[in-house]
Amino acid sequence: MFIFPDSLYCDVRMEEVFQTRIAFSFGNVQEMLERRYIAAFIRVFDGVRWYYSATSSIDAIQEHINRLASIAAPSQGVTEHPVVRKLENHRENLLLFSGPESVSSRSIKEKYDLLSHYFPVIENYDHIRYWMAYYIDELRKKHFVSSKGANISFDYQKIGLHIGYEMSLNGNQVKDSFSYGTHAYRDIETQDRKFANALNRSVDFLKRAKNIESGRYPVILSPFAAGIFAHESFGHLSESDTYQGDQALKERWVIGKQVAHKNLSIVDDGSILGMGYTPFDDEGTKSRKTYLIRDGVMVGRLHNAATAVDFNENLTGNARATSFEYEPIVRMTNTYIESGKKPLCLLIGEVDNGFLIETIKSGFGSTNFTISPAIAYRIRKGTIAEPVKISLLTGNAFETLFKIDGISDEVSLNENPFVSCTKRDQSMLPIDFGGPYVRISEIDVVG
């Protein structure tokens, strides 16, 4: 297919993409976008440095390979370089969605009808200032070949609906949204009741939400919030390129170290069909289930080939790129907290004065993490009470992980195709997160 240069490692990732985006607001169709493209990313490694090239012209791939080869320094021993040796060499075809299940086989009219089904539901609500509705889908088919002989084809598909709205009443405002995601068109179910529940919850928040006094409180995170917490508090720290070459952090974050309460286990797994599904990563490594924390002990971290060699650990299938324009870097896939043993009612019942965080606006993480709740409730004497306005939950990631003192017995993934992750210059990477309800014994809550 391509002529790979001698004495260099080379791989090519071609991406064939179909996308639909429909937007509706102010009573009008704002967007009916269908997009198709094929483009490629090329990597060359000479044993010292990586050389990358992105092109929107697939006819020019060979030219790009040759150009990168001309600036690299060929080395006879490159095939024995530990990073090259580490790279996997699969030959597999795993196309789940590119046949009749493809979103490209459905008309945009059919997709618009699906979205417009929800318009009468929201139009019946009082207090709505404005609302916007979106339908998106994407079929991304990747073909990866390497000079080691890898030859993989796989695909990924997502479909999503999102209705964002802003309500106001007597000077109070609430911004919230309803989202739904799946992978195959046949799996789309009518979500009227869930949507109405979300709207009712927002109206209740608008009418009854109270301010709170900032302080340190026990907090229960919903599966959605717990998933963000896992992603932000420890997920990003588990991306090993974060501290590749940093001796101080390497010495601090050693495998086998107790890093969390003994009841906590966090997993990353790109092989399950969440929104972060990626059966092979963008270096051709097969994805797998990786425990980051098991029973409170750090047992793994996420790798690409270079970091796996640097840390002398196994590949995990987490070298991911946002699109053909970028090189794969270490990213999460589907990250979740494993279930515990307590029913939710018991978790709540044991809280005298705290909060339940139901939905989230955003989250950020590094050494510290922050979560901005959208809908939250006071827990008073073991019972859910009035909705509350909280602007921020924040804490030191490492301290907070030891303060998880209760985990409920059911896990769910967020499955929201509108949620993505940003790292360095690569934004909008599809990821998923989730978990059970998780109780933190004490965390900074800012009102």
């Binding site: 009916m32 440095r49 990586w50 404005y130 900032s214 302080g215 004065n353 510290n368 921020l392």
Partner: protein, 420 residues
């Protein structure tokens, strides 16, 4: 039927520096283009990545006119301008040589620090034209620096980041900024409490988020902005002037026109002038829908319908140094403000209360950094930040990087909340 064509090309080389060496280089050569057709209040767009086949795209755009996408504004007519902002003829090899030189200086001068940098050399062309006399083109070349600094013995993943753009590869400016930062980070840390002056980079995403929301024409027009209905009123500090900017002077290096072909005198449109709310930012449809002035804040992907998006906001610098501003604001104090160097998230409540978690801040007197601050929460009310708690925009840009201005307010520092 009115036909419009948009083409953007990007030719970029990015060097990633890690562990004192160039870890990788990446080149990107991407062409994106689209044909837009306007007819009877509808728009049809067809775009392509790579080869631009105008005839084929025009045919597709015609088919898409039937999809019912409403666009009742008039396309921009009779406006022609060609601009080149190119201050360097450096090629890829020269660029990598400059990066190597920067690396050598950095490794020699700051051995106690580790760095991860992404440095990009970008050449972009933007061209928007239509059959009713619009013809705008812009060729621009610039360098983007994303610098991450960490003391080698620090337990943080990173201690500070600096991001800025320059029209030429000014190694001395970069080393100077790193020196100022590293010297400050090497001092013993301090923990402030109570009301303190805080300096944000003018383009800080967390702080700006509520400004974007409140000054967005849709929020303003639909009544959900904190400042809805106050156009023409003085609602901010007398000394606050804020622009929607597409000027290089304000660290904006993209096209001088928006995606609807709107331009502004000197590439700036004042949204707040001496404390008076002049207008929210708008695209054509928002301006039309809510009877607001058009500011030229339309954004779009190459093949999507232009619509309102985050506008690039910039403040007019004052005539005073940071020290002078602090003295004007309060009679006592250290004459220093805390730069928000490494925030780890923050948000506004619906009623404008702002909370920010700061992993690393650093005290700054306008020239030198002195003492880092770790792990505090900063809070303020947005209306007060832009009113009574406004300190101002020092005349000197932060770290002496052209256009990288700071904006200073009083905020409340909370090291740790009491247990409830």
């Amino acid at each position: 039927m009115i036909k419009e064509v948009y083409i953007k090309t990007v030719d970029e080389i990015c060097a990633r520096l890690r562990s004192g060496a160039i870890d990788s280089t990446r080149s990107r050569e991407i062409t994106r283009g689209s044909v837009r057709l306007y007819e009877n209040g509808k728009i049809g767009i067809a775009g392509a990545l790579g080869t631009f086949d105008e005839e084929g795209l025009t045919q597709k755009a015609k088919e898409r006119l039937d999809m019912g996408v409403v666009y009742t504004a008039l396309p921009t007519a009779e406006k022609r301008e060609e601009r080149e902002d190119i201050a360097t003829d450096m090629d890829a090899y020269d660029f990598l040589w400059e990066v190597e030189e920067l690396l050598k200086d950095q490794n020699r001068q700051f051995p106690e620090y580790s760095f991860v940098h992404d440095i990009r050399y970008i050449y972009e062309t933007h061209h928007l034209k239509n059959v009713i006399g619009l013809d705008l083109s812009h060729k621009t070349r610039y360098f983007e620096f994303n610098l991450t600094v960490k003391r080698k013995d620090s337990e943080n993943v990173k201690d500070g980041t600096l991001s800025f753009k320059l029209p030429s590869f000014d190694k001395n400016a970069v080393i100077g900024a790193l020196r100022t930062l590293c010297e400050g980070l090497s001092c013993a840390s301090a923990v402030p409490e109570g009301k303190i002056p805080v300096l944000f980079f003018f383009d800080d995403f967390l702080y700006n988020r509520k400004l974007w929301e409140t000054l967005n024409g849709i929020s303003y027009g639909s009544g959900s902005s904190l400042f809805s209905g106050k156009m023409g009123e003085k609602v901010f500090s007398e000394e606050l002037t804020l622009y929607q900017s597409r000027s290089r002077k304000d660290q904006f290096f993209d096209a001088f026109f928006d995606m609807e072909g709107i331009t502004n005198p000197e590439d700036r449109c004042p949204l707040i002038e001496n404390g008076i709310l002049r207008m929210p930012f708008t695209d054509k449809m928002t301006a039309k829908r809510f009877f607001l002035p058009l500011t030229g804040a339309a954004s779009a992907e190459y093949d999507s319908v232009p619509s309102i998006d985050y506008a690039h906001l910039a403040y007019r610098p004052s005539d005073y140094s940071l020290l002078e501003l602090l003295r004007r604001s309060v009679s006592e104090g250290e004459g220093k403000a805390l730069i928000v160097l490494q925030p780890t998230g923050g948000d506004y409540s619906a009623d404008g209360h702002f909370s920010l978690r700061l992993q690393t801040g650093i005290w700054y007197d306008g020239e030198r950094c002195d003492r880092p601050v770790q792990n505090i929460t900063l809070t303020a009310d947005m209306r007060k930040m832009l009113g009574d708690d406004w300190i101002g925009v020092p005349k000197q840009p932060l770290f002496n990087i052209p256009g990288l201005f700071g904006v200073c307010f009083w905020m409340t520092a909370q090291p740790r909340s009491p247990s409830k």
